[in-house]
């Protein structure tokens, strides 16, 4: 292993769970790290996180875990747009033709994404998580403002989630498929943001325009003035997404890493 420059690094099992077999060079690195405050985070990152919390839906681990994580978020989006089309903002007479058409397409796209993932996870020999029960108690589906604000939150969250999860995907095939979906989510996000306020398709809240990003997973981060999307870790994403999921459907992503 130490002599093979290889392209199958991604297939290797991480050694973080096997401290007894740690090679000498790695231990010397720990000593090096021990001289700094960074040691705490390093050691913590090496510890196994707790198992699935009771009453929560674990997305699992590995590529199947990432696919189930995406499936969960797509379920949430699909449920949201399904319900949007029953509220009086959508069914009423004041919605513009442009907005009605956009919400139709977003509904189609997200339902397709959801059902695609269920099929793809099954095809991969893994088990899809259950159908989640959303909790949209904070959303007023009769209000344009409320619907657009929630749509904006979901679409931006979806983009940040896919971008932050790409690094956990081991298969190039699945990484590529995630890329096919995330750009459509970004297209959604841009037009929804403009419906909220023209010219906000990008902004410092979602890309690193005037300030650096600060995800807890450092790989996600970029400096100010770089205009990169602010990718979010699975833990950061579900901290938001779980607010829109009912008890018993809240997500546990602690095995995704």
């Amino acid at each position: 292993m130490s002599t093979t420059p290889n392209s199958d690094l991604l297939l290797q099992e991480p050694r973080v769970e096997q401290p007894l077999y740690t090679p000498i060079k790695r231990r010397s690195f720990f000593m090096y790290a021990g001289a700094t405050a960074g040691a705490t985070a390093l050691v913590l990152a090496g510890c196994s996180k707790s198992d699935s919390s009771p009453g929560m839906v674990s997305v699992g681990s590995g590529d199947a875990g990432v696919l189930n994580y995406a499936y969960a978020l797509e379920q949430l989006e699909a449920a949201f747009y399904t319900q949007v089309r029953t509220g009086t903002y959508y069914t009423g007479s004041t919605i513009t033709a442009a907005e009605k058409s956009i919400f139709d397409d977003l509904y189609y796209h997200e339902v397709i994404h959801r059902d695609f993932f269920r099929a793809a996870i099954t095809a991969a020999g893994a088990t899809p998580i259950k159908s989640l029960t959303p909790n949209f108690g904070t959303v007023d589906f009769n209000s344009r403002t409320s619907v657009l604000a929630t749509a904006k939150a979901f679409e931006d969250l979806g983009v940040a989630a896919y971008n932050g999860a790409g690094q956990y995907i081991q298969s190039a095939t699945y990484l590529y498929i995630a890329g096919k979906i995330v750009s459509v989510e970004a297209r959604h996000a841009a037009i929804i943001r403009d419906l909220v306020s023209e010219g906000t398709f990008v902004g410092n809240d979602i890309i690193t325009l005037t300030s650096a990003s600060n995800s807890s997973v450092t790989t996600n981060n970029a400096p100010a003035n770089s205009s990169l999307e602010r990718a979010m870790s699975p833990a950061e994403v579900v901290a938001v997404a779980n607010n829109f999921l009912a008890d018993g459907s809240k997500l546990d992503v602690s095995s995704l890493r």
């Binding site: 130490s2 420059p5 392209s7 690094l9 991604l10 290797q12 991480p14 050694r15 090679p23 060079k25 700094t36 960074g38 040691a39 985070a41 990152a45 907005e99 397409d105 189609y108 796209h109 339902v111 397709i112 059902d115 695609f116 099929a119 095809a123 896919y162 932050g164 790409g166 690094q167 298969s171 190039a172 699945y174 990484l175 590529y176 498929i177 890329g179 096919k180 979906i181 750009s183 459509v184 970004a186 297209r187 959604h188 996000a189 841009a190 037009i191 403009d194 023209e198 398709f201 990008v202 890309i207 450092t218 790989t219 970029a222 400096p223 100010a224 770089s226 205009s227 990169l228 999307e229």
Partner: protein, 311 residues
């Protein structure tokens, strides 16, 4: 910002990282010297540069630096194109300010990629004489409608380029995530330019335009089928067509934008539970497609004076 956390993250996918770093202590010396004068905001760039040095010795397909330099060339094309926006007349204030935002992003992407590549970056192209936004006399890029048509074409190309390149850099999670974080910003731009085109050059409300099939002049914010070959049929066909799979990573096919089979799953009203009532176009719209470097280069070379800048 926690450098050791980054190392830990990398170790999860590359258990050799400690060996690699340990055998290159000079990198750490370099790092600690920098640290004293570096603000936290600059750190990711320096870290990226160090990782490049570490990983530069591991062959990864086309080579991470090669991929990043190709991306940098595309960003230069876009950045210089948006710098030329000031010569365009007839745009609404809303459209002008949107182009200003996009111009800033593209310039930032150039700076960011140069920072990651450091000494491995290509030389900056001259501001004149390298790119030809008329595509050899085909376009008048000071005409507002033409300008937006070319802009949409460049952004849609950029989205496909980053998507196709992502698997080529997946061995380096820092670079991969940065590429993904640029990819989605390009998609936001593409969406915006499509909105601007369907609402019109004079519109003060770009989000309120209504898309009109077959979408050449009034596209949706997403690509529907092949958008009838794009903003300039006959010239932009390749931007929505299939790529070349010769050197594609295993398991990846560069299909045309009207593709409706994803990961072996055929998408239709019969395979999607609720899809029976969906318009058939929705199944292709829901997924964008990537392109290989060679196909992207051929598209971009239309805007190269020599016709070979992107080779």
């Amino acid at each position: 910002m926690n450098f050791f956390q980054i190392i830990s993250e990398i170790e999860k996918v590359d258990p050799e990282v400690y060996d690699r770093l340990d055998s290159r202590r000079s990198v750490f010396k370099h790092m600690s010297g920098l640290g004293q004068k570096m603000s936290a905001a600059v750190l990711p760039l320096a870290v990226g540069a160090i990782f490049n040095k570490v990983y530069a010795q591991t062959p990864v397909g086309a080579g991470v630096n090669d991929v990043l330099n190709f991306a940098l060339k595309l960003e230069y094309l876009e950045s210089y194109f948006y710098n030329a926006r000031t010569a365009v007349t007839g745009l609404s204030a809303a459209n002008v300010s949107a182009l200003n935002l996009i111009a800033t992003d593209e310039a930032n992407h150039v700076t960011f990629l140069r920072g990651v590549l450091q000494g491995n970056a290509i030389a900056a192209p001259a501001t004149t004489g390298v790119f030809d936004f008329t595509a050899k006399g085909k376009f008048n890029p000071t005409d507002a409608a033409t300008y937006l048509a070319v802009a949409q074409s460049l952004e849609d190309t950029g989205v496909r380029a980053y998507k196709g390149a992502a698997p080529l850099v997946m061995s380096n999670k820092t670079v991969l995530t940065a590429a993904l974080n640029i990819h989605s910003v390009e998609a936001r731009h593409a969406s915006q330019l499509r909105a601007m085109r369907r609402a019109g050059i004079n519109s003060s409300a770009p989000s309120q335009g209504v898309a009109v099939a077959p979408y050449n002049n009034a596209p949706k914010s997403w690509i529907s089928g092949t958008d009838n070959n794009g903003a300039v049929p006959g010239f932009t066909n390749a931007i929505y067509g299939a790529g070349n799979n010769t050197n594609a990573p295993s398991g990846i096919t560069f299909a045309a934008e009207d593709n409706i089979t994803q990961g072996g799953v055929a998408l239709s009203g019969t395979t999607i539970t609720a899809g029976a009532a969906f318009p058939s176009s929705a199944f292709s719209e829901a997924f964008d497609e990537g392109l290989d470097v060679g196909t992207v280069a051929a598209i971009a070379n239309n805007f190269s004076v020599t016709g070979t800048y992107f080779n």
